[in-house]
Symmetry: C2
Subunit: 392 residues, 2 copies
C-alpha cells in the first residue's frame, strides 16, 4: 500500500532564474476556473481571444498563431518537423544550448544540417550567415533570438534580409524574448517563430505559442511526406484552431485559461511599457552588480534585458551561492549550462518577475551571500548603485 501523500505545500519562491518566472495571482486564479469542454462554444470564443492576443505580442497578422499543447521545446520541434522533410538543407545558428538543440531536432527530421557557429556568449554575424546561405540550396535558416543559455540577443533584421534574398524561410526561437523585448514577426520578415509561456509571458510552463507566415504554412501544406509527428502536425492542429474546429487532440484547457489571462495583463500594461520595464530593471541590476564587483559575460551591446549572464568570480562556489539564495531568501537563480557550467549565474528578470523590488532584493541577497563566502564588500553598495540607475 502506498503511503499517504501530504497536502501540496511547496516553498514560496522568487523566481529569478531562466524561467519559470513568477506568475501573477490573476493568472493563478484564472487556472482555478472550472473547465468547459474543448469543443464548447464558450471555449471556442476563448481560443479566438487567445489567438488574437498572441498575434498582438508576436506583432503579426499571421492567421496561424496558436499555443501548441507542449512546452517551448515542443514548439521548436513542431516548427522544424513541419517545415523540414528528409534531405532538406537547413542552416542553424549555434552559439548556445538552444541552437545545439535545434541541430539535434532537425537531424531527427532527416534534414541536412549546416551549422553556423559563434562562441557561447557572442552573436552570429550576418556575414557568416550570408556566406553559409551562398553555399547551398537552403530551405530554412533557424536562429535563436534570445539565447537563454548565454544571455545573448541575436540581431535579426539584416539576417532576415539575406535569408529572403536567398529564398529561404526564417525560423526564430523567441522562447525567452517574447513579451520582454520587441519581437516584430511581420516587420522583420520572420516566417515561423515559437515561444514558451513561462518566461516573459509569465504564465506557467506547458504551452508553446507559435506563429507561421502564410508562406511557411504553404510549405507545410505542400509537403511530400506526412509530418513525422502526429501530435505536432500543424496541418491537423490548424483545423482545430481554424474555422472548422475539427477535433484533433483535447486542448489543455486550464493552461489556455492561464495564458489568456497572462496576455491580458500584457495588453493592459502595453507592450512598449512592458519592454521599457524589462530594460529599466535590467540596467538597474547591471549597475547593482557592478557595485558588487560582478559583470555580465554576454557580448556588450547584445545583452538580453530579461536574462543576465553574470560571470562568477574566481574562487566562488557556484552551487553554494545558489543554495544560499534559495535557502536563506527563497530566491531561485540559474546556473550555467554546457561549457558555461560553474562559470556564470543566470539571473532572470522575466515578465512578472521583472520588478524593482526583485532587483533590490536579489542584489541585497547576493551581497549577503558573497559576504558569507568571505568577499569584502562595501555594505549596501549594490542597492545604492541600482537605485541610482533608477534615478532615485
Amino acid at each position: 500500500m502506498i503511503q499517504s501523500v501530504p497536502e501540496l505545500n511547496p516553498g514560496l519562491r522568487i523566481l529569478l532564474g531562466p524561467g519559470p518566472s513568477n506568475v501573477h495571482p490573476r493568472v493563478l486564479k484564472a487556472m482555478s476556473t472550472p473547465l468547459v469542454g474543448h469543443l464548447d462554444p464558450d471555449f471556442l470564443g476563448i481560443m479566438n481571444e487567445t489567438m488574437e492576443l498572441l498575434r498582438f505580442v508576436f506583432q503579426t497578422d499571421n492567421r496561424l498563431t496558436i499555443p501548441l499543447s507542449g512546452t517551448g521545446s515542443a514548439g521548436m520541434e513542431a516548427c522544424l518537423c513541419n517545415l523540414l522533410e528528409p534531405g532538406d538543407e537547413v542552416i542553424i545558428g549555434v552559439n548556445g544550448l538552444f541552437g545545439e538543440r535545434m541541430c539535434d531536432v532537425a537531424g531527427r527530421c532527416g534534414a541536412e544540417v549546416q551549422r553556423v557557429e559563434a562562441e557561447w556568449g557572442k552573436i552570429l554575424e550576418p556575414e557568416q550567415v550570408g556566406a553559409a546561405l551562398k553555399q547551398g540550396k537552403t530551405k530554412l535558416l533557424a536562429l535563436v533570438h534570445a539565447e537563454t543559455s548565454t544571455g545573448i540577443c541575436q540581431p535579426l533584421e539584416e539576417i532576415s534580409r539575406l535569408t529572403w534574398e536567398h529564398g529561404a524561410l526564417l525560423l526564430v526561437d523567441t522562447v525567452t524574448s517574447l513579451g520582454g523585448c520587441p519581437v516584430t514577426v511581420d516587420r522583420w520578415g520572420i516566417d515561423a517563430a515559437y515561444s514558451g509561456t513561462q518566461k516573459c509571458l509569465s504564465a506557467p510552463p506547458g504551452l508553446a505559442p507559435i506563429t507561421l507566415s502564410p508562406r511557411a504554412l504553404e510549405v507545410v501544406k505542400r509537403r511530400k511526406q506526412k509530418v513525422q509527428s502526429w501530435y505536432l502536425d500543424l496541418s491537423m492542429v490548424e483545423r482545430y484552431w481554424g474555422e472548422e474546429r475539427f477535433y484533433h487532440h483535447t486542448a489543455p484547457i486550464s493552461m489556455i485559461y492561464a495564458l489568456r489571462e497572462a496576455l491580458r495583463l500584457i495588453q493592459e500594461e502595453g507592450l512598449e511599457e512592458q519592454f521599457a520595464r524589462h530594460q529599466r530593471n535590467h540596467l538597474a541590476l547591471v549597475a547593482g552588480l557592478k557595485g558588487l564587483g560582478l559583470e555580465l559575460s554576454a557580448q556588450k551591446g547584445h545583452r538580453l534585458p530579461m536574462l543576465n549572464a553574470v560571470r562568477i568570480p574566481e574562487g566562488i562556489d557556484d552551487l553554494k551561492i545558489r543554495r544560499y539564495l534559495l535557502h536563506e531568501f527563497g530566491i531561485e537563480i540559474g546556473g550555467g549550462l554546457g561549457p558555461l557550467k560553474g562559470k556564470i549565474w543566470r539571473i532572470g528578470l522575466m515578465g512578472h518577475s521583472s520588478t524593482r523590488n526583485n532587483v533590490l532584493l536579489v542584489l541585497g541577497a547576493l551581497e549577503q551571500a558573497l559576504r558569507a563566502e568571505g568577499h569584502r564588500l562595501e555594505p549596501g553598495a549594490a542597492v545604492v548603485s541600482a537605485l541610482d540607475a533608477y534615478g532615485e
Copy 2:
C-alpha cells in the same frame, strides 16, 4: 490596436462527455499554487510523489511511470515512436477511432502496420490477434483498452498471454480506463501504457501518464536510431524524472500540481471504491436510459462503465438534443465520431463527474429534451428506474 479582451467567464458546465470530466475544487485550488522552479528541491519531491501515485493507479512497480508533458495523444505517440523503429512490424487492433489513430502514428514512425479489425462497438477476439501474431515477426502489439469512440472495454488478459508467447511487446491505450476500472499493468503483463489526465483521473487535460516495463525500457535503450521526436524521447525524459534530474525541457509545473492532487483524491477514496462507484453509476444510468426507451450500442458484456455509447432513436436530431442539454441545463455530452456520427451520444461518467446527482440530472434533462422533440415519455420513468438501480 487589439480590442480589450474581457475577464474570463466561461459558462458553468456539467461535463458528461468523453472528457474532460469535471475537476474537483481541490484540484483547481492546487493549480493556483504559486510555482517553484522545475529543478527546485521542493519540486523534485513533488515529482517523486506524483510518480508514486501514478504507480498506484497503474498498479505497477515500473520505475518509468511518469506524466509526459502533452495530452493523451502525445502519450500514444511517445510509446509508439520510442518502441518502434523504421521497418519494425506492429499489429494494431482497430475497432474505433483511437485504434485508427495508432495506425497513423505508427506509420509515421516508419513501422510496418498490420491491422486486426473489428466492427466499431465490438471487441477484438483473442483468436484474431493470435492468428495475426502467427503470421510474422511482430515486435509490438498495440490495443485500446477503453475505446472512447465506441464505449468498448477490450479484454486484455488472454491477448497479453498470446503476445508474450510470441515474444512481442504489449502496448495499451488506457486513456479513458485509468482510474475508472481496473488497469493492472503488472498482473496483465502490459509492457507500455499511456493515459490522459482529463478522464477518470479528473485533472485538466494536458498531461499523459505513461508507464514502461523494464523490458520495454530496454528496447528503447537498445534502439539503433535516435527516436524521431526529441520532445518525446523517453531515454532523455527519463533522465529528468530519474535520479539524475538532468534538464530536458521545463516541466509543466502547475499541471503536475493538479495531477498530484487528483491522484491524492483517488488514493483517499481508494481504487476499488472508485471502480465500484463508476460501475454503480453506469448501471443506474443504463437503467434510467432504458426507462427512456434508450439503449447502449456497444457489445453487451464489454461495456465501459465510464463511457456510455447511447443509440440515438430514429428521427431524433443529434445536434439539437445536445444543444438543448448544453443551453438549458449546462450539460455537455458527446456526439459520435467517424461512422458513428449522428448515430450515438456518448455520455461520460468519468472521475469526479461520476456521481449519483449527475446520473439523475442527465436523465431528467434528457427526458425533457426528448419530450421537447415530441417523444411521448412517462414522466419521471427514467429517474425512478435509476433510483431503483441504486436500490433506493
